[in-house]
Structure formats: structure tokens, C-alpha cells
């Protein structure tokens, strides 16, 4: 009984603000409910049918989210691993570099997006002024759908890569140094050491980072809200932003709840994959 005194604040809040709402969103997703008309009607799976079969916007949004993830995850992980390999051993300046690469992680996404939006303006933007010096006429980055998507991906990678970098550094530092020393005595090259020893030993970390980063990429909201607002021509309209837009801009509560359920299923599946991979790694 005493134990429940310890956990009750947490458990009660959890019931009210998490479990209850989670059940409610299942019900909401099966209603036609427009906040403006203040009427709710049970419609079964009509919202899901609307999303998956009828509304072309939905698949456009899914496509955007998948492109965002496919661009962000490999770029983020490759950069994180490269930086970690360079910064896992002490040398003059190592603290400086770690501090610099991690700094955007502690900065608010809104502030980061504000500054990059400023740098990436079409006319008079700093990036384009620099490109003009070397004779390149830069595009209007955030006004053309494909460039906008690329810009959002790259600035997001710069913002978040520090987190994966330190996870990789921690994993690299846990590898006993004898392994590498022994391989070197056998005459292995740097690349061989990486390929045959370090990379396999990093595999569990790589899998975890991959799933965490993928889930994170499906949740991205504030960055896109501030940088592109989902535009231009819905070119950066991703799932989390679409939920916000449908629910809190257009007040299609039922439809937005169905979208939230779909997001829930996607994240759940990714998490199950992660747990399975972790088990496999532990064997």
C-alpha cells in the first residue's frame, strides 16, 4: 500500500492525461465532428476510408513524410558516425568540436528555424549571396517544393546530429582498445579495422539510433511550422503538421483523430521492430 503513495501522483496524472486521451482518440477517430458546427456523429471507419482511399492529400503527406525520413535518417547517421569516429579519442580541440556539434541540440527548434529561414531567403539571403560570389545563382530555397524539402532536411540534420554523435561516441569508447591494437599487430589497415571490428561491434547502437531517428523524423513539427509552414504548395506538409492543420486549423476533429491513430500505428510498428532487433542483438 505504501508503494502506491509513491506512485499515485504519477499514476493518476498518467490516467488523466495519457490513458484517457488515448482511449478518447480511438473514439474520436470514428466520429464526424466539426468543431464549428458543434455536432458529433458516429461514422465508424469512414475517416480512415477517407484518408486511405479518398483524400489525395493523405498520400501526398505520407509521401512527404517518407521522403523526409529517407533523406534525414541516412544523412544524420552517416554524419553522426563520421563525427563520432573523429571525436571519440582525445586530441587537442576535441572538447571544442564536441561542444560545437552538440550546441544546436540544446537550442530551440523555433530559434534554429528562424535563423535558417533568414539565411535561406531567395533574394538577399546570406546563402545565396555567398553562392553569387562563386557565380552560382541560388534558388529561392523555401519557395520551391523540392528545394524547401531539401532545406528542411539538411537544417534538421544539423540541428539534431549531435545527439546521435554522442550516442556513437559512447558506444565507440566502450569498445576495448586491445581489439584494435591486436588487429594492428596483425597488419590490418584502418579501413579493415573499421569494417571488420568496429562496425560489427557498433551494430546494436546503429539499430537503436536508426529507429529512434526514424520515429523522431515522423514527429517533426515545430521546425517545419516555423521554416515553411508546410509549404510551398504543401511540399513540406508532413504527417505531424497535417494532424495539427486538420485538427486545430480546420477543426476536422474526427479526421484529425484518425490521422493521429495512423501515426500511432506507424510509431508502434517502428518500436516493435526496434524491440525485436534489440532481442536479436542480445542473443
Amino acid at each position: 500500500m505504501e508503494a502506491w503513495l509513491f506512485v499515485s501522483p504519477s499514476a493518476i496524472g498518467f490516467l488523466i492525461f495519457f490513458l484517457g486521451p488515448l482511449c478518447a482518440v480511438v473514439y474520436f477517430s470514428m466520429t464526424e465532428w466539426n468543431l464549428l458546427t458543434q455536432q458529433a456523429a458516429f461514422v465508424g471507419l469512414a475517416n480512415f476510408k477517407n484518408a486511405l482511399l479518398e483524400n489525395p492529400d493523405f498520400w501526398h503527406v505520407v509521401r512527404n513524410s517518407v521522403i523526409f525520413a529517407l533523406g534525414l535518417v541516412p544523412l544524420n547517421m552517416a554524419l553522426a558516425l563520421t563525427l563520432a569516429l573523429a571525436l571519440s579519442r582525445p586530441f587537442f580541440g576535441v572538447v571544442f568540436f564536441r561542444t560545437v556539434f552538440f550546441a544546436p541540440v540544446v537550442t530551440s527548434a523555433i530559434a534554429w528555424a528562424i535563423v535558417w529561414k533568414f539565411l535561406l531567403q531567395g533574394e538577399g539571403g546570406f546563402i545565396n549571396q555567398m553562392l553569387a560570389i562563386v557565380g552560382i545563382s541560388g534558388p529561392n530555397w523555401l519557395r520551391e517544393p523540392n528545394w524547401a524539402m531539401a532545406a528542411v532536411i539538411v537544417t534538421r540534420v544539423i540541428k539534431m546530429v549531435g545527439l546521435n554523435m554522442i550516442l556513437y561516441i559512447a558506444a565507440l569508447q566502450a569498445i576495448p582498445r586491445d581489439y584494435e591494437a591486436a588487429a594492428r599487430l596483425e597488419g590490418a589497415s584502418r579501413w579493415q579495422i573499421f569494417r571488420m571490428i568496429i562496425w560489427p561491434l557498433l551494430a546494436p547502437t546503429t539499430l537503436i539510433i536508426m529507429v529512434i531517428t526514424t520515429i523522431g523524423s515522423f514527429k517533426v513539427f515545430d521546425h517545419i511550422y516555423q521554416m515553411t509552414g508546410g509549404g510551398p504548395e504543401n511540399g513540406t506538409l508532413v504527417l505531424a503538421f497535417y494532424i495539427y492543420q486538420q485538427g486545430f486549423k480546420f477543426f476536422n476533429i474526427g479526421y484529425a483523430s484518425a490521422l493521429a491513430m495512423i501515426m500511432f500505428v506507424i510509431v508502434m510498428m517502428l518500436t516493435i521492430v526496434q524491440v525485436m532487433l534489440r532481442r536479436k542483438g542480445a542473443e
Partner: protein
């Protein structure tokens, strides 16, 4: 060349490469501060790192354009409150989950783990109606309650539990022998030994509250109630276009203090994120 010279050359090349990669990480901060001091005309002229005319006025207009001091204070007090509440609640629950046997413990763990996985976007719609029915729209309550009891709070609970599990049990047993209650053992023995975990939870919780955006965007409507990220995104003229120099001056005011704290305590802060990242 000798072995030593090759090593030095190799190191130098690496350092130069790293410095180049570091530019897009550092430069936005530098340019933010610089542009925050410029006039509207200079901001779009030929790029200069040092403003030709230092327009200190920007930093005054930030406070007259909207109640920025009030908004700054809102962010600060909310972040502190959320941090303190999260620490109390998560360390209590984490301790019980680590050290006590009770009916429903397994079920509670299962629920908490599932909460870790569910993004806040999934529950935000019902939570909006819940908060509205409590009459708490356009107050700071949802910005405090939702993070404390949401995924962030759950993660803190797990972090604390993990740390308590690794503590030597003998000291707590000795405390019990000396007549301390469970609560006394938690407060006098377990907590003082958990400083690193407490620091990690405090740092991550503070930053995530300070940077919170979705909840303020959805729940707040009056300018005096805004928090910093929402206020920053609100420096627009009547056509909805950004007032760049004011916006960047305000962003400087919001970001620089955090950066200074980060530079002083970078080791501690980076370690905290590593700790939570491995667990999460």
C-alpha cells in the same frame, strides 16, 4: 618525412576538415547576433559580419512590440516549475518501481513503457478538449500538466528507476534498521546518492519545457501568456512577413543565455543527454 611529421600532417588535415564541417553549426548563431543589431536596410544589403551601424534600438523595440519581458518570465517560471514537479513525481515513482514490491507494479511498468512510445501529437486532440472542459485554455496549466505527466515525465521516471536500481541496497537497509520510514529512506539516503540522475533529469526537463512549442501554440491566445518560442515566431508585420531584425534580436535574447550556460556546463549537459538517449 618522419613518422612524427606524417602524424602531425594527418592531424592538421583532420582538424581543418572538422573546422569546415563546424561552420553550419556555429555560423547561424554568429549571424543571428550580428543581424539582431542591424537596421532593416542593412540586413538585406551586402553581407557584413560586423554591423556598420549598431542598432541597439532593436533590443528595446523587441520589448515594445509585444510584452517580451512578460513572455520571457513565463518561459522561465514554467520551465522551473515543470522541472521541480517532474523531479518530485518521477523520483517518487521511480523509487517505488525500483525498490518496492506491490500489486499492479508490472501493469504500471507496461503502461509507462507504452507511454514512452506514443508521440504527444496522438493524444493532443483529446487533451485539448480535456483542458477546455477544465476551463484552462489560455492558462499555463496545460504547459505544466501535459509535460509532467506525458512522455517526458515517463522518461524521467525510467531514468530515476534505472539509477535507483544500480545503487547499493545495503545503505538503505541500514537506514531502515535505524528506524527510517520508506519515505525517510527515499529522502535521506536514496535521493542524496542520486545526484547525477537528478541533474540529468533536471537539465533535460528544463530544456524541453523551455523549447516546448506545440502545447503553447494550441492552448495560448493572449500575448501576455505566450512563452518564448511562440513569441519568437510572432514577430511579423501586418502582412504576416517577418520583422527580421526584431525577430533575430529577440531570438538572440532567448538563445544566448542558454548557450552561455551550455558552454559553462557542456560536459554535464552532454552526459545527461547521452544517459537519457541510451535509455530512451
Amino acid at each position: 618525412m618522419t613518422q612524427r611529421q606524417i602524424r602531425i600532417l594527418y592531424r592538421t588535415c583532420w582538424t581543418i576538415a572538422l573546422l569546415i564541417v563546424a561552420i553550419p553549426f556555429m555560423f547561424p548563431f554568429v549571424w543571428m547576433v550580428s543581424a539582431g543589431f542591424k537596421s532593416t536596410t542593412e540586413i538585406f544589403g551586402a553581407p557584413t559580419l560586423i554591423p556598420r551601424v549598431w542598432r541597439w534600438q532593436n533590443f528595446i523595440e523587441v520589448f515594445t512590440y509585444q510584452p517580451f519581458a512578460r513572455q520571457y518570465f513565463n518561459s522561465l517560471y514554467i520551465a522551473i516549475l515543470v522541472t521541480v514537479l517532474t523531479l518530485i513525481i518521477s523520483s517518487l515513482a521511480g523509487y517505488a518501481l525500483a525498490r518496492m514490491r506491490f500489486a499492479g507494479a508490472g501493469l504500471l511498468m507496461l503502461f509507462l513503457i507504452s507511454a514512452l512510445m506514443v508521440p504527444e501529437e496522438v493524444t493532443i486532440i483529446p487533451n485539448f478538449f480535456l483542458i477546455r472542459s477544465m476551463g484552462l485554455v489560455d492558462t499555463h496549466w496545460p504547459l505544466i500538466l501535459l509535460p509532467v505527466f506525458g512522455p517526458q515525465g515517463v522518461m524521467a521516471t525510467f531514468l530515476m528507476r534505472q539509477y535507483f536500481l544500480a545503487l547499493p541496497k545495503e545503505l538503505e537497509d541500514a537506514g531502515k534498521m535505524d528506524g527510517l520510514s520508506r519515505f525517510g529512506v527515499w529522502w535521506r539516503i536514496a535521493l542524496p546518492m542520486s545526484r547525477p540522475a537528478i541533474a540529468a533529469v533536471a537539465i533535460i526537463t528544463f530544456l524541453s519545457s523551455w523549447n516546448l512549442f506545440l502545447e503553447p501554440l494550441i492552448f495560448l491566445s493572449s500575448l501576455e501568456m505566450f512563452t518564448l518560442p511562440l513569441a519568437l515566431s510572432n514577430f511579423n508585420d501586418s502582412y504576416g512577413l517577418p520583422l527580421w531584425n526584431l525577430q533575430l534580436a529577440a531570438t538572440t535574447l532567448a538563445v544566448v543565455p542558454i548557450l552561455i550556460v551550455y558552454l559553462i556546463a557542456q560536459r554535464q549537459i552532454i552526459e545527461s543527454f547521452a544517459l537519457s538517449g541510451v535509455k530512451g
